[in-house]
């Protein structure tokens, strides 16, 4: 029997423990960048020792103790440095150099520390790309290399992005805290947005050869489920988790044998992942039980749930979906929501009604380069048997998408509209 590879075992421990480790350390040293370095130092020690000693029974506690020693060394050195600087007559902010209280962290607080870590990684002083990279790195336990591969970006680009993000946080003196008061809602929605960005990048890759990158979806789900337990009374967190669970449940049904995308209504519903469907529906119920009107994520989850509850595409309750999109459009007016509303309306009340809604979107500047607008128009025109117009729309959509798989799907639909071709 081959012995387990110790390095891979340590990587696995890292993936499980790193977020809690970094969160606890950031609590002690008030500096996320330093906390991450200390955690990395502890990992290096583990990589040296564990192959011989074996993985300790409680690897998280071991890593924390090791990192804590490093932290104490670090601050002792700085103290020394401070004294030398003081001798040279320089002024230093003693507060920053003060030895932190290393006993303040205990296991009960770690949840709050994880939450603080999520808030700081998704802080609005950072660009969206930086928030995503930092969140995956600090909370997802991904290496720079893994993030780079997931986003098809060169590794040095991600490394730089993370370094710059940590510097920005330090320079802006962003506190390691859970925001209170009016700030809280906006900060929380930034965290949710980042998680959903990660999910979507995995679920419908905007670039590259593959339509989906499931590992990113799993990372986003992990982050979402963790967050939902950290802030159990926020309905939108449960809404987002429900939305992701239900969408992810379709993952294996939405790709054909050759890697081609299969659209929702054409999917073999027996291939949906019913563990995830059940989880999603349960979480959505939890969002509803917290009271109040459903927010944008919960509404989208409710729409996804309508599909999940329909055993066949024909049984879909399109009127309810159209109504949910109405509510969503009022809460979060956007051309993309309107586009989806038009699809739902066309299914509930006929393609003309949908096409009418689309007319109002024709001049929308933000949709000029959005491939789904012509794709949906093409679909509705096909249903109305206006095939020549439909073909032009599908061809236009094909030129707009950046995803190779989707492009070939759209070109296929365009060809199917040509005179004499068999109906698709």
């Amino acid at each position: 029997m081959p012995a387990a590879d110790p390095h891979r075992a340590i990587e696995a421990v890292w993936r499980i423990e790193s977020a809690r480790l970094i969160a606890g350390l950031a609590h002690m040293v008030h500096d996320v960048g330093l906390a991450e370095e200390l955690a990395q130092d502890a990992l290096v020690v583990a990589l040296e020792r564990w192959p011989e000693s074996g993985v300790p029974d409680n690897p998280g506690a071991w890593l924390m103790a090791t990192a804590r020693h490093r932290a104490i060394d670090h601050f002792r050195r700085n103290k020394l440095l401070e004294r030398k600087h003081a001798e040279l007559g320089r002024e230093l902010e003693s507060q920053e150099m003060a030895m932190p209280d290393f006993d303040t962290v205990n296991d009960d607080d770690i949840g709050d520390d994880l939450l603080r870590l999520a808030f700081i990684a998704c802080h609005p002083v950072l660009s969206k790309e930086a928030r995503v990279a930092l969140t995956l790195r600090l909370l997802g336990g991904l290496t720079t290399q893994e993030i780079a591969r997931a986003f098809l970006v060169p590794e040095p680009t991600i490394a730089q992005r993370i370094v710059r993000a940590k510097r920005t946080l330090a320079e802006a003196r962003v506190p390691f805290e859970i925001p209170r008061g009016p700030d809280r809602a906006a900060r929380l929605s930034s965290v949710l947005e980042v998680i959903y960005l990660v999910f979507n990048e995995g679920y419908s890759a905007t670039a590259g050869e593959d339509w989906m990158r499931p590992a990113l979806c799993e990372d986003a789900l992990r982050l979402g489920r963790t967050l939902a337990e950290l802030v159990p009374n926020e309905p939108e967190v449960h809404g987002l988790v429900a939305l992701m669970e239900i969408q992810a449940s379709r993952a294996r049904a939405r790709v054909g044998p050759a890697g081609e995308p299969i659209l929702l209504l054409d999917q073999d519903r027996t291939r949906w992942d019913h563990i995830l469907v059940r989880r999603g529906l349960a979480v959505l119920q939890r969002a509803g039980q917290l009271g109040g009107a459903l927010g944008p994520y919960a509404l989208q989850a409710a729409i996804a749930a309508c599909h999940a509850n329909a055993r066949t595409a024909a049984e879909t309750d399109w009127r309810r979906i159209a109504a949910l999109y109405d509510a969503l459009a009022q809460l979060m007016p956007s051309p993309v929501v309107e586009l989806n509303r038009a699809v739902a309306v066309s299914m509930a009340f006929g393609p003309e009604a949908g096409l009418e809604l689309l007319e109002s979107l024709a001049g929308e500047p933000s949709l000029q380069a959005y491939h789904l607008l012509p794709a949906v128009r093409g679909d509705l025109l096909t249903k109305l048997d206006r095939l020549e117009e439909a073909r032009a729309e599908f061809e236009r959509a094909a030129t707009l998408t950046r995803n190779a798989r989707e492009r070939s799907l759209l070109l296929g639909r365009a060809r199917a509209c040509a005179p004499g071709s068999a109906p698709s």
Partner: protein
């Protein structure tokens, strides 16, 4: 990727103590919160179960208890993990609480998913 963890242990004939239940409850709760535990169930004594076997097309049913086997299935879990090693770590954490026995980890077939022979790419 997902793993089925089949837990096998010697049947004790006594129900778990309050303290054992509490420790296992805490582990399951934490694991559900962390998101890696997708589903898990524990089994009642084998006296409540049965074995259904097909041999050369002939079905036989044997009611429990299964006294002839040393270790019996005591429960299962479905784990979401980034690698086989990660699943092993979860199984290890489980056994630290559950006590003596074995977790047989089997990667679950998922269409389109890479077999876990290589690290995550």
């Amino acid at each position: 990727m997902r793993f089925l963890s089949i837990y096998k242990t010697v049947e004790r004939g006594v129900p778990p103590t309050q303290e054992e239940m509490a420790r296992m409850g805490k582990l399951v709760e934490d694991a559900m919160k962390a998101g890696y535990l997708l589903a898990t169930e524990g089994c009642l004594p084998s006296a409540a179960g049965a074995r259904v076997r097909s041999t050369n097309g002939k079905l036989t049913v044997t009611d429990g208890p299964f006294t002839e086997s040393k270790e019996l299935v005591g429960g299962f879990a479905i784990l979401q993990a980034g690698s086989r090693e990660e699943a092993v770590e979860y199984a290890r954490q489980f056994l630290l609480v559950a006590g003596d026995g074995e977790c047989e980890l089997r990667q679950i077939f998922e269409a389109g998913a890479a077999v876990c022979a290589a690290p995550r790419v």
